[in-house]
C-alpha cells in the first residue's frame, strides 16, 4: 500500500514536471530523429548546425537544443543541404529569416569590427602599458625592502 502510494506520488510529480515544461510557448512533441544518407552528409550537417544559434533558447546551438523550433530548423537545414545549397547559402537562408543573431560567428563588417578586433585592441593597449612600466622601472633601483611590512 505504502509502495503504491509512493509510486503514485512519483508519477504525479513527473506529470507536474511535464506539465510545467509544456507551459512554454513552444509546442512539445517527440521529434523523429533525422536520417542521414552518408557519414559525409552527417559530418557536414553537424558542423553546420553547431555554429548556428538556436533562436528560442538563445544560449544553445541549433545542434544542442531540443526546442521544437530547433528541431524544425534542423530538418530545414538538412533539406536545404539536400537541395544542393552550400553552407554559406544555408546560413544566408536563416539570416534572412531570423536575423544575424543565428550566427555564432558573425560576418566581418563595419558594425562588427569592434567585436572582431576589440580583443586585439585591448591586447595591444595592455602591451603598451606593460612596455611603459618596464621601461620606467628599468632605470630605477630595486625598491628598498619594507621592514614595517608584516607578512
Amino acid at each position: 500500500m505504502m509502495r503504491m502510494l509512493r509510486t503514485g506520488w512519483f508519477v504525479g510529480l513527473l506529470l507536474a514536471l511535464l506539465a510545467s515544461t509544456a507551459a512554454f510557448a513552444q509546442k512539445a512533441t517527440d521529434p523523429a530523429p533525422l536520417q542521414f544518407t552518408s557519414t559525409a552528409e552527417e559530418k557536414r550537417f553537424h558542423a553546420l548546425v553547431a555554429e548556428l544559434r538556436c533562436v528560442m533558447c538563445q544560449n544553445q546551438s541549433l545542434a544542442d537544443s531540443n526546442a521544437q523550433i530547433a528541431v524544425d530548423l534542423r530538418r530545414e537545414v538538412l533539406e536545404l543541404m539536400r537541395e544542393g545549397r552550400s553552407d554559406q547559402e544555408v546560413r544566408d537562408f536563416l539570416v534572412a529569416r531570423y536575423g544575424e543573431f543565428v550566427l555564432y560567428r558573425p560576418q566581418v563588417e563595419a558594425k562588427t569590427w569592434l567585436l572582431w578586433f576589440g580583443p586585439l585592441l585591448f591586447a595591444l593597449l595592455g602591451g603598451v602599458v606593460v612596455w611603459r612600466l618596464l621601461r620606467r622601472n628599468a632605470g630605477a633601483a630595486p625598491p628598498p625592502a619594507d621592514d614595517s611590512q608584516e607578512w
Binding site: A23, K27, V95, R97
Partner: protein, 160 residues
C-alpha cells in the same frame, strides 16, 4: 604615491559602472526578442489552408491590396490566452483585417480554443507543419506581423 593608492578604487568604480550599465541596458522585459529582419522587406509568399473551411487554400497574393495583421497563435500557447483580449479589441475596431495564423496545432484543438476564447479573426490560416513559419522567421508564439498593402512587412512584435 596617493594617486597609486586610489587606482584600485577607480578601477573598481569603472567596473561597477560598466556592470550597472549592463543591468540598465537589459531592463527591457522583451530583451530576448529578436528584431525581425523582414521589416520593410517583402512579406514571404505563402499558400495556406483555412481553418474553418478544410480544402480551401488562401495565398498571399489574394490578400494583397490592403494591409493586414497576422497574429501567430496556437492552442498550446498559454501566452496567447493572455494576448487574445488585446487582439480581440483591436479586431473589433475593424481598422485592419486581423488574420489568425494557427501555428503547429491540431485542427480540433484550434477550433475548441476559438470556441472558448472567441474568434475575432477575419480569417484563420493554419500551418500545421510550421514550414511557412520558417519563412516568416517565427520561433515562438504569440507573434504579430503587420503586412502593408504592397505586401511588405511594416512591423512585427512578439508579446512573449
Amino acid at each position: 604615491m596617493t594617486a597609486k593608492r586610489w587606482l584600485p578604487f577607480v578601477a573598481f568604480l569603472l567596473i561597477a559602472a560598466l556592470m550597472a550599465a549592463g543591468v540598465w541596458m537589459s531592463r527591457r522585459s522583451d530583451r530576448d526578442a529578436l528584431p525581425s529582419p523582414l521589416i520593410n522587406k517583402p512579406a514571404p509568399e505563402f499558400a495556406l489552408p483555412v481553418l474553418h473551411e478544410p480544402g480551401r487554400i488562401v495565398t498571399s497574393k489574394e490578400l494583397r491590396g490592403q494591409p493586414y495583421l497576422l497574429n501567430v497563435w496556437g492552442s498550446w500557447c498559454p501566452e496567447c490566452v493572455t494576448e487574445h483580449p488585446v487582439i480581440t479589441r483591436f479586431a473589433e475596431t475593424k481598422r485592419v483585417r486581423v488574420i489568425g495564423y494557427n501555428w503547429k496545432d491540431e485542427r480540433a484543438d484550434a477550433l475548441a480554443w476559438l470556441e472558448r476564447f472567441n474568434n475575432p479573426y477575419w480569417l484563420v490560416l493554419t500551418d500545421e507543419e510550421g514550414e511557412v513559419a520558417i519563412d516568416f522567421g517565427i520561433y515562438g508564439a504569440p507573434e504579430t506581423f503587420l503586412v502593408d498593402g504592397r505586401a511588405s512587412c511594416a512591423g512585427s512584435t512578439s508579446a512573449r
